[in-house]
Amino acid sequence: MSVGILLVTHGQLGEAMIGVAEFILERPLAGVRYIRFDQSETHMTGHDELRAAIQDSDEGDGVLILTDLIGASPANMVSELLPEFQAAMATGLNLAMLLRVWNYRNQSLQSLTGKAVRGAKRDIEAWS
């Protein structure tokens, strides 16, 4: 079992996060894709582009979509498309979430989604 992982983020955030994670892990993040959500004058990411990215990410066991900010356009558009796919979304993408998701990518979509959210929250701490 291998759940597809798709990062849908503002600008270059997803691509940059994958790059940093690959630097840390010292290996390519196989099966992790990203789409740059763009709403500039020259390019507007639309439902069809996002739909195609989700389809491309699905290797048969579903897709976990990681978005950066709850309530923002990338997350909102993904939430509209979720019913069309075997897919789930986790908002609040951070590096801890990405590393954990990659580590447990062979788990089921439901289990992996829970790991993503719990892990990302757990690793936020206040230091002084």
Partner: protein, 89 residues
């Protein structure tokens, strides 16, 4: 189960890539590995777990290994830490 106390000696401490190497090392053995500081103990095969130790240079960690290949595992982990995770300083 065997345990050993080891001190982080490389300049950057148990940073992200060092944690990756430690986890890769531990994961190469069947034995379970647990790593702890004064506050908590984490699974030595979990990158995020190891990172939460936030172990800088000089930090003493307790390594506990349990399994049929525990001796080889703890020796490999000790070598990795003592050799500064392959870093120059």
């Amino acid at each position: 189960m065997i345990s050993r106390k080891l001190t982080i000696v490389n300049k950057l401490g148990l940073h992200a890539r060092a944690a990756t190497r430690l986890v890769s090392c531990a994961s190469g053995f069947d034995a379970e590995t647990w790593i702890g500081n004064d506050e908590k103990t984490v699974n030595g095969k979990s990158i995020m777990g190891v990172l939460t130790l936030a172990a800088s240079r000089g930090t003493e960690l307790k390594i506990e290994v349990d399994g049929k290949d525990e001796k080889d595992a703890i020796q490999s982990i000790a070598s990795l830490i003592e050799n500064r995770f392959g870093e120059d300083e």
